[in-house]
Point group: C2
């Protein structure tokens, strides 16, 4: 039994406990976690059908059938369909065979709505629920091997950030820096999973898309970057001042750094996720800047860059050993600048530990 | 009134004709087509809510609100939500305000299932249908300006293919060639949208993912590549023999080339899409190789690389002037090799015209 057949059994045990008759997974990270394989099928339906008991079935376009047969979980029940007549008949007979109507059917969170609508049309009396709860709970607790790979992914991103600082120069654009970061990741043998670069006032937009904005003396340079390494993500946010900064920004950086520290210090098994958020938020609210911190404090990371658990108000989920997530408080002043400090933290028996380097205590500056 | 406000009005007219009370679009190409803007919101709900009459509303995470306000359609009704308490309340009150329960609600084909399931929970008595029919019919008929951009996108991909041939050498891997193609696209100022490179027997897998397979004398080199240029896609499949080939492969190439030609020749306004498929398929079936051509003949292309209309058996949709799609018959011999020839065709008053260069009549070979 390899790790994938093991995970399939675990999933079925959870389905049994929750009264879920079957689960349908799209070719997402959920499928990759469970069977070690996925592929992009675009608008064509490719899905894993997992009954509560018995063998799973892969439903695949003929185009992907040869690849599907290589799945590391060793699934041999593979239903192929061709563009004509399409996937509907194959799925309809599968749903009938497993008597889905009237029972609970868990659906991959990322299955496209058009596929779900078609399936609901075929089995209108099933009770449709999200497969997220079952899958995400499994994925959230990382094994030692997964933590090791996540640390390596984090180390690459830390290195790329440090290396990128050598390339800052006045007049370069955000897109120039993005290209340099892509190149630096390439030297480490990986591709960026995402690469947000903000100069100056663009740092006030947490999800800014890099553009032709040039770098000016005195600008804040914010980088929110990450990669996938052996299938596992990394994600940090760091910033420097390009040339000397001023007291206002330095103070604001210290405030966000304190918020980050407060969240990090509180991490331990058994704590509710929302408490991590509250710890960071309280520091910023106490400075009268609560309105300028308008996003959650963190997200889980693993096969996906964003996954459960989320560090957000209202999330009562308890931290467990092996969970891995970002801590990333920020403050943003629209049209002016923003500060965010993000590191990945793993939950250990005794508390949190960083997978990334410790974020600087002060707003550093780069010589312009 | 700009082109986007114009498109919104057109969409509402179609909704009226179809009895669709409201439409919800995810941040997909559908949204970009209708309002000129979209952004990646990952697991956070970002959506355009378009009622049959009246102004559309953008529902956006606070994080993306600043960007959302820049939408070229000039939509000013923007509902922001924060990670806590989340998007549910905002959407629930919008659905209530527009009295969605009991009426027809069209949903973006790509909306993630978890969002659809949550919305169905809020408005269980609405009739949910795919928004695809309305949106895809609008998008399928390209304007002159769109055709111009698609031609430029096609020209870049043609050039990159030609340039890539200069880089073939024995022992290079598929991944090496993929990197070269990415670099060549970069010189044209664009990124590849996808890049399938197959050496030798890998050409028998239509959706092969490039790997460390090395290039050997006598291998078929198949490239299925495309880019996005000014938001519009290109997509061709070409192949050469690396060094001299043999009669079997040359004959097979000619057969696929004839199938391609047969499909191209039949294109004209008013023809059913499935007839394009049949024209190509008949040539291959007549050679006794029908089982080796196991995918549809083509797909539409525009803001997405794959979109309506599909050239597939059973699709009675009529070709119209301005439609743009691939013609890509292929034959595949599992474990040995495969042949596919793909060009993009636009429907004109008089028939089809290629946006790409005419595919070679014979299987060319590159000196090894």
């Amino acid at each position: 039994m390899n790790q994938y057949t093991d995970r399939i059994v675990q999933a079925q045990e959870r389905m049994h406990a929750e009264g879920v008759a079957a689960m349908l997974l799209a070719p997402t990270e959920q499928m990759r976690y469970l069977i070690g394989w996925r592929t992009e099928a675009h608008e064509r339906l490719l899905a894993l059908f997992l009954p509560m008991e018995g063998q799973p079935t892969l439903i695949t376009p003929s185009l992907n059938a040869a690849q599907a047969r290589t799945n590391p979980a060793g699934i041999t029940s593979i239903l192929e369909w061709r563009d004509s007549p399409g996937w509907m008949e194959v799925v309809a007979s599968l749903l009938k065979e497993w008597r889905i109507n009237g029972r609970t059917f868990a659906i991959d969170d990322q299955l496209p709505a058009c596929h779900l609508l078609a399936i609901q049309h075929m089995a209108p009396y099933a009770r449709y629920i999200s497969a997220g709860d079952i899958m995400n709970a499994m994925r959230a607790e990382k094994s030692e091997e997964e933590l090791h790979i996540l640390s390596q992914s984090a180390a690459i991103t830390d290195a790329v950030y440090q290396e990128s600082l050598n390339h800052l120069k006045a007049g370069m654009t955000e897109l120039d820096l993005q290209e340099i970061i892509t190149h630096l990741y390439g030297k480490h043998g990986v591709k960026p999973a995402f690469c947000i670069v903000c100069f100056g006032k663009n740092s006030a937009e947490p999800h800014h898309e890099p553009d032709e904005t040039p770098l000016h003396q005195g600008d804040i340079v914010l980088m929110d970057i990450g990669c996938m390494y052996q299938g596992y993500g990394s994600d940090i946010t760091r910033m420097v001042s390009f040339g000397e900064s001023n007291d206002e920004r330095r103070d604001m950086y210290r405030l966000v750094r304190q918020a980050h520290q407060a969240a990090f210090d509180i991490v331990k098994p058994g704590l509710a996720c929302e408490e991590v958020d509250t710890a960071a938020r309280r520091v910023i609210e106490n400075a009268g800047l609560g309105d300028h911190f308008f996003h959650r404090t963190g997200h889980g990371i693993g096969l996906s860059v964003h996954e459960m658990p989320y560090m957000v108000e209202g999330n009562k989920q308890k931290l467990k050993v092996g969970m891995c997530f970002s801590i990333e408080p920020g403050v943003y002043f629209d049209g002016r600048w923003g500060i965010r400090i993000e590191n990945i933290v793993a939950v250990g028996e005794e508390g949190g530990r960083y997978l990334n380097a410790i974020p600087p205590e002060e707003l550093l500056f780069s010589h312009s």
